[in-house]
């Protein structure tokens, strides 16, 4: 976990990179999450101070968007698409099978923090579902064999 001093320093560096940008809060949050894996609550006062916002405004933005995490992520994050086009291709069954094989419910992180299953609503690969993002890598046409391979690759 990063110390408050480290967070403040990172915020300072990122904001210098973003100095020409108006409405810099979202780009800053993305940069922090990329650097630290999540946006810690400890960073909120420093962000608010730096952008001349209230802490409530910063917290409101972090909690509004699905992407921003307030806790460190699991080692492996599997995002499975739940939207209609994947449902039309058997996505619901694949989601259930993945949850069963990986031993973690949708929207949860497994107790050993090795793997998390997250919902995503459309990856724009709608003709070749069911689709998922495995640690940021897109995978289409997921079936039972593919789930087994994914599970082995991440050692789950």
């Amino acid at each position: 976990m990063a110390s408050t001093a480290e967070l403040e320093q990172a915020i300072d560096v990122f904001l210098r990179q973003l100095r020409d940008r108006r409405g810099a809060l979202l780009p800053l949050l993305h940069s922090l999450q990329e650097e630290f894996g999540h946006v810690a609550d400890e960073a909120v006062p420093a962000i608010a101070q730096a952008l001349n916002l209230s802490r409530a405004e910063v917290h409101g933005v972090i909690s509004f968007y699905h992407d921003f995490r307030r806790e460190p992520p699991a080692t492996h994050v599997i995002k499975i698409c739940r939207a209609e086009a994947c449902q039309a291709r058997g996505g619901r069954a694949i989601e259930a099978a993945a949850a069963e094989r990986l031993g973690v419910a949708m929207g949860r992180t497994r107790a050993d923090r090795r793997v998390a299953l997250e919902a995503v609503y459309c990856l724009g690969l709608c003709a070749t579902g069911p689709n998922a993002m495995i640690d940021g890598k897109p995978v289409s046409r997921i079936d039972a064999t593919r789930i087994e391979r994914i599970a082995r690759e991440i050692g789950a």
């Binding site: 940008r21 108006r22 409405g23 810099a24 809060l25 979202l26 780009p27 949050l29 993305h30 952008l51 405004e57 409101g60 933005v61 509004f64 968007y65 699905h66 992407d67 921003f68 939207a83 209609e84 086009a85 994947c86 449902q87 039309a88 291709r89 995503v120 609503y121 459309c122 990856l123 724009g124 690969l125 709608c126 003709a127 070749t128 579902g129 689709n131 993002m133 940021g136 897109p138 995978v139 289409s140 046409r141």
Partner: protein, 511 residues
């Protein structure tokens, strides 16, 4: 050295195109990475340059590249353009996609790039706006508002600065045309935005892309850097969303760029008058901007001569879900839904009968095959209780449970509601509960309702019919009482499922 073309579109990569490209390079071929041609059944697709032109092979796996290079691979497709799926298309916006290296400026110019911008810059702003008006182009994001009129409003607005914003928050399930254009021909979008900037007098633009599209974000950032000198003094920036579907609504998107929660603003004032940072703003979809270079380069008449009724020009239609020939099919308006699903799409991939198609994403209506004679046109779909939206068509076979799909529409609205207006925020959750009660066969009196002092509480149990009436009533409230299309259009999938598939709700007749 043999030159081969392999797509680097996210969908192709998800099917293994990177491994195929690597294997081809390892086998000594010169690999050019392109956008996707748009037919995903044949991806990963390899096109090999030969004396007789390009010969396609697909799908191909990394282990089979030797057979591709010596021409013995069983999935030889010949000239891709001659396949029925491509021969029937009218590619105006997607003319270059899948054919060129998306980031190569020489390729772009050699294939007609920048001609639209040069034409526009030789005109006065008013003349450029007039061309877009004459083309009949309507907003391709879904609302179908005439693009030229929007531009005129911004041109006429007096302000010290104006903005061009591209809505690339393509969150609708069953749509991927924006993503394909941004990855496969990003300069086309940049050129369209630069034309808009000249036409309305703006100097800065934002492309708001959803975070689920990392390939598009990378392609745009690189394309913006490489084309900066060409579009100057216009400057551009990519803004990355953060997983909120509602930010595809234009006013929520503006708030998100401003660094706020993506909440919907009440309209008026229109963004064209008071938009980003309170300044006059052109906000259009990727496909609207993407159509502009063609219109300027080839003239408004060339674009407007194609189409149907008040829907002029072409629409990049996306065939998705359980469909055999899924992909991008650009054609003039007026083609029927049945032609799209059965002839071009080839029916379901599962081989079972088509039961329903959802047109226009999660907020679009479900239609049964009995309505497949509808021409693809904004007005026709509106008259039939639906919308064409962003022109995604999601196909379902006969295993679909339409009550489950109606419930999902409400559930999705509840997950993604921005929370600003009550019909959407609360109504969506009540909708899920009502559909659950329909599934359970109705409900009896609860403990509170049985209390003697609750004189106005219903004394009878509610059956399915009453619950369905309640659901329709709720849909009516959401439709007319919501601030934006999320709450306002969620009733479309719910009501169309009720109207066309009442048997899935246990209802005897259409009420």
């Amino acid at each position: 050295m043999t030159r081969v073309y392999v797509s680097r579109d996210m969908a192709s990569v998800a099917l293994g195109a990177d491994d195929v490209a690597e294997a081809l390079a390892g086998a000594g071929a010169e690999v050019v990475r392109t956008g996707s041609r748009g037919l995903f059944r044949i991806e990963p697709l390899v096109e090999v340059e030969t004396a007789e032109g390009l010969i396609g092979f697909g799908p191909v796996t990394a282990g089979e590249v030797a057979q591709v290079l010596d021409g013995t691979h069983p999935n030889a497709l010949g000239n891709i353009d001659a396949l029925p799926f491509f021969a029937r298309q009218q590619r105006f916006t997607f003319a270059r996609c899948g054919r060129i290296d998306p980031l190569n400026l020489d390729d772009y110019r050699a294939h007609g790039g920048w001609a639209g911008l040069e034409t526009a810059r030789a005109m006065t702003p008013q003349q450029a706006v007039d061309v877009v008006k004459a083309s009949g182009l309507r907003g391709r994001g879904g609302a179908g508002f005439p693009t030229g009129i929007k531009w005129q409003t911004v041109l006429d607005a007096q302000a010290d600065e104006k903005f061009i914003v591209c809505n690339a928050d393509e969150g609708d399930s069953g749509t991927f045309a924006d993503r394909m254009l941004m990855e496969g021909d990003p300069y086309c979008l940049i050129e369209g935005m630069a034309v808009a900037a000249h036409a309305v007098g703006a100097s800065y633009g934002y492309i708001y892309v959803r975070s689920e599209y990392p390939f598009a974000i990378a392609a745009l950032n690189e394309a913006i850097a490489r084309s900066a000198a060409i579009v100057a003094p216009f400057r551009l920036e990519v803004r990355v969303g953060a997983g909120a579907y509602v930010c595809g609504e234009e006013t929520a998107l503006l708030d998100s760029i401003e660094g706020k929660r993506g909440q919907v603003r009440a309209k008026p004032p229109l963004p064209a008058i008071k938009g980003l940072f309170g300044k006059p703003t052109v906000i259009n979809n990727v496909l609207s901007f993407g159509a502009v270079p063609f219109i300027l380069a080839n003239g408004a008449e060339r674009y407007a001569e194609i189409g149907f009724g008040k829907s002029r020009g072409t629409m990049p239609i996306q065939l998705a879900g359980n469909v055999r020939n899924g992909g991008l099919f650009e054609i003039g308006f007026g083609i029927t839904l049945g032609e799209l699903v059965n002839e071009i799409g080839g029916g379901t991939e599962s081989g079972r009968p088509v039961r329903a198609v959802q047109v226009g994403g999660p907020l679009g209506a479900y239609f049964p095959p009995s309505m497949f004679d509808m021409p693809f046109d904004y007005e026709t779909f509106a008259q039939n209780g639906g919308l064409i939206g962003h022109a995604g068509i999601t196909v379902f076979d006969d295993s679909v449970d339409m009550m489950a799909m109606a419930r999902f529409a409400m559930e999705f609205c509840a997950v993604e509601s921005c929370g600003k207006c009550t019909p959407c925020r609360i109504g969506s959750t009540r909708g899920v509960e009502t559909i659950d009660r329909i599934r359970a066969g109705g409900r009896g009196q609860d403990a509170v309702e049985r209390l003697p002092q609750m004189r106005n509480a219903p004394s009878q149990a509610r059956g399915i019919t009453q619950e369905i009436a309640l659901l329709r009533d709720l849909c009516d409230t959401m439709k007319h009482g919501s601030l934006c299309a999320l709450g306002g259009f969620t009733p479309y999938p719910v009501l169309s499922a009720l109207d066309h598939f009442p048997e899935d709700f246990g209802a005897e007749t259409i009420s």
